[in-house]
Symmetry: C2
Subunit: 332 residues, 2 copies
């Protein structure tokens, strides 16, 4: 019997994840490659198409591809494009149109954080919840917000920019041109900036003193923190404090059942989660009867987004664009 | 012909507004009295009932009262009570039950900021809008948030606590026990604190130096600002700057079509609105194609809340609790 699968793609600022998802919402095969590289948007899309074909070849037994769901920063579902993303090198990519030149199938693109929120609802931490927030901590800080079972979309489809909440008006300069945005502190790039601030401020010895700004990754910082490097440990502590305060404000505004933390930076696990929870508890609005869960996504890197994006395609194709209620928001 | 009216009540930290609203959503008669005073919650409810009866007597021609909608801080619609309000002197008031001893009619209570958001949708600035936020600037800072045509309610019905977003972790002590909450800067009590900070910091002459903290009202501050008092003017400027930054963050999170400013403090008009808009423009996430309107409510003080609360009662009574979609949120 032929297996029916959908492809999910998560285009991140650093890596792009491609996966095949079966009908029960399990990712059966996945690959990961750098997003950036020489060449045009056409060549990038060609690489993506080839990555999907390669996975299909690797899948045991016969299979049919039912559609492709793409998650990307600054995606516009209605127009089928990725537009002015701060973290991608191409200005505008007509991703759906370009992908259709390779596959004659239902294809859709949606905001990556919204896709992650759908993915967590489909097969992750927030299954069955009506009010939840998924925070993605990668190159930037994104958020997919579900209120009363629906994705929060806003008037123009750009709600949920928690990464660009100004937490310090005199703070760090952000890629958006302003100062003190949350993602300049809480993201993979944010923790790198914190490391360099600590290196400047302290006199402590640290292996981080031998690594250049451009060379430093959050993975390396994690590795050194585990080895006991004091600067690396402090960087996670400070990042967690910022994140906990941000989450306490988010909880006051949205009153969610749970906030799920995901993305590359969360590979640091308890090293980041512990100070985050501690800071959340210190700062949260004390409604004694209310409990807001702070959870780490148990899905693998990028998996929530590909589950969510592919779900969008499966469900819209099955229902001839009469999409399930929880996705409505993502479809304007 | 008998005129059919509904009563709307807005219980504020300082004043309580009672009004009669006709079927077309116009407030035909209104009274205003201090909320605080000697006595028990029973005596307060008795005064409220008497205020409603007095308005009915004053109304020309014959009339029938169809129901009473009450807006209050920390109200719980489901339980029909006001619970642990920071700005009221009574711990818990079983307001619906107590009011029913005076009137055998449909009676409901709802959160005041949500009521204001419904009132603005019914007959104010946000008529026909799907994504809007109403901010009430009184003793505290409240917010009623409408996303995709529905009131934002959250998992426990306490979403929208924008007044308790921490804007400065080392900032002013708040009634909630934490530090730096938005309402310690942006509210009638916030501007008073700003005045006293300015009196302490500056050496400038000011008539404000003759007024005690407890005597000072935002009305007096406004009056002196209009007369050119430098401290009073600065207090409005600083309050506007805080508010503009807060609104820019709210716009990044919710992507609303409009944010409406209402409540007693907005009687200052352009003195507060101008620096607010300026600060909003300086701080907003620069999405050139997006326009977020910052509006001053054109409804009289407390009128949005009584319009909204009475609408709730009219509509629920008419439809036997099959309430209109936009109110769903307020009914859990």
């Amino acid at each position: 019997m032929k297996q029916s699968v959908t492809a999910g793609v998560d285009i991140g600022g650093t890596n792009t994840v491609v996966g095949l998802i079966n009908d029960s919402g399990t990712c059966v095969l996945k690959s990961n490659s750098p997003t950036l590289g020489q060449g045009s948007a056409e060549q990038f899309v060609l690489r993506l198409a080839e990555a999907i074909r390669q996975l299909l070849r690797e899948l045991p037994g016969e299979s049919t591809l039912g559609g492709i769901g793409i998650a990307a920063p600054a995606a516009n579902y209605r127009k089928g494009i990725i537009q002015n993303s701060a973290n991608l090198q191409w200005k505008t990519i007509e991703i759906v149109g370009m992908m259709k030149q390779h596959f004659d199938l239902p294809i859709a693109v949606m905001n990556d954080a919204n896709a992650a929120a759908l993915g967590e609802m489909r097969n992750g931490c927030t299954k069955g919840m009506k009010n939840s927030i998924v925070i993605t901590l990668g190159t930037g800080l994104g958020a997919g917000i579900v209120t009363d079972g629906h994705l929060l979309y806003g008037e123009n489809g750009v709600a949920g920019e928690l990464g660009h909440v100004i937490v310090d008006p005199n703070g760090r300069i952000c890629g958006c041109g302003r100062r003190g945005c949350a993602e300049t502190y809480v993201s993979a790039t944010g923790i790198r900036r914190t490391v360099f601030e600590l290196l400047a401020y302290n006199a402590t010895e640290s292996k981080l003193r031998d690594i250049s700004f451009n060379q430093l990754t959050s993975e390396k910082t994690y590795e050194l923190a585990i080895q006991g490097d004091p600067i690396a440990r402090d960087a996670f502590l400070i990042t967690g404090r910022h994140l906990g305060l941000l989450l306490s404000n988010i909880a006051a505004v949205f009153d969610p059942e749970a906030i799920v933390l995901s993305g590359g930076l969360m590979n640091a696990g308890d090293l980041l989660l512990d100070p985050t929870k501690e800071s959340f508890d210190q700062n949260r609005l004390d409604l004694k009867w209310r409990k807001v869960l702070i959870l780490k996504s148990h899905l693998a890197d990028g998996e929530a987004a590909i589950l969510g994006a592919s779900w969008l395609v499966t469900e819209t194709a099955a229902k001839e664009h009469d999409v399930p209620a929880q996705m409505e928001g993502s479809l304007r």
